[in-house]
Subunit: 213 residues, 2 copies
DNA sequence: GCCTGTGAAGGATTTCACAGCC
DNA sequence: GGCTGTGAAATCCTTCACAGGC
């Protein structure tokens, strides 16, 4: 095993990768931790330390080769291959996710979409036909799927998560506004714009209130 | 000022508040840090410590009153009032955000929507008419807006963020797949499902590869 | 001279563990 | 007996600072 790399570090790697892609498009061939850090509002030391968990990718006096560091990061993160995604829930949110163009170009292919409502089962969403939620397990048994995306109402989310986990899914992207339980060997990420807003209001409020200095 | 409360703590408060709302709906009147922690996969000590930054809300031997702790958290976070939101960008993503029903019930009201494309300016989205992006500053000068939501392509995002900041906005929810720069007194949160996926793949990969123990 | 990689130091956050109260 | 609130300890993460290489 990879000798315990902090999760915060893993979460920053995709950010670095994205910035390197942009730099590559701009024609840059070399970048220093300093320059990359300015771009991302991260200290150069942090970038160097993060990368040092995985090897020695830079050259003293020069910096990092953009293309080769990018390739390394993509390899480390597993972005050098395709990932198969199943989406559960085709309400407004699920629809938006299905037609959202941002996943495919990054190698995340939505191979199946499920919903429990007979109204949408059988309709086309994105490029796939909506399957009945009841078929979830049988589908996953017959088709390899790497990641489950949950876009059902909060009340139904835990059950959907449990079914995905029981069917062998080990990574879940949860859009439902609740915190699902998962076993420790399952990775989950929650997308919740409302929570994000609700933490920002704390800081706006601080400023609005005439501070009782 | 509030004596430096860690940002991680602030980010957890909305999660606690959401769980308390659910408990209230379920008819619970009292909850211990233990019970709340189990629900959220957080240690009881962490909940108690987090809350202790703001006061003493519990009763020894009993726990916390659900309603009154919820009210306290809402007050602390500023969720006891309405917040006015402006959305910039009405592509597929912006459309989805505008019609997404999750913000309004939580007190976040989209009061204006902007786009630079003549094709969508003038159309109705959600309940509001799309205004030309050029009108951003003049609108913000005449109408109070607390939070800006950015849903434009990555290339345009920094400029939009800068304009929002220059117009006085102090909180930004960014959906563009890049990391914008903001002055230190501006709060920003990035929503990026692709980054979330890209960090999960690292962990799936670990398992797939037959570990070279 | 510039910049990486990294031990060591420093700082931040989490967890422990227990006094105190209901 | 059960549970909070909180100093102190432990852990985790970031930053420093510099040896070493280009």
């Amino acid at each position: 095993m990879t000798l315990e790399i902090p999760e915060v570090v893993i979460n920053r790697l995709p950010v670095y990768a994205r910035a390197l892609s942009a730099l590559a498009l701009e024609g840059e061939t070399v970048v220093s931790s300093q320059a990359l850090g300015e771009r991302l509002d991260v200290t150069p030391a942090q970038i160097r330390k993060d990368l040092s968990y995985f090897g020695r990718f830079g050259k003293q006096g020069r910096g990092y080769n953009v293309q080769s560091l990018l390739a390394k990061l993509r390899e480390i993160l597993g972005l050098d291959r395709k990932w198969r995604v199943a989406l559960v829930g085709v309400g407004r949110l699920g629809q938006a996710i299905a037609v959202y163009g941002g996943f495919e170009p990054q190698g995340f292919q939505i191979v199946a979409v499920f919903d429990s409502s007979p109204d949408v089962v059988g309709t086309e969403v994105g490029n796939v036909t909506v399957l009945p939620a009841d078929d979830l397990e049988s589908f996953l048994r017959q088709n390899p799927v790497d990641i489950g995306v949950v876009a059902v109402p909060a009340k139904a989310a835990q059950e959907v998560v449990d079914r995905l986990v029981n069917a062998g899914i080990r990574a879940i992207l949860n859009y439902a506004p609740m915190t699902p339980h998962v076993p420790r060997d399952v990775t989950i990420r929650n997308i919740d714009p409302v929570l994000a807003m609700q933490s920002m209001t704390f800081y706006i409020k601080q400023r609005d209130v005439p501070a009782a200095k």
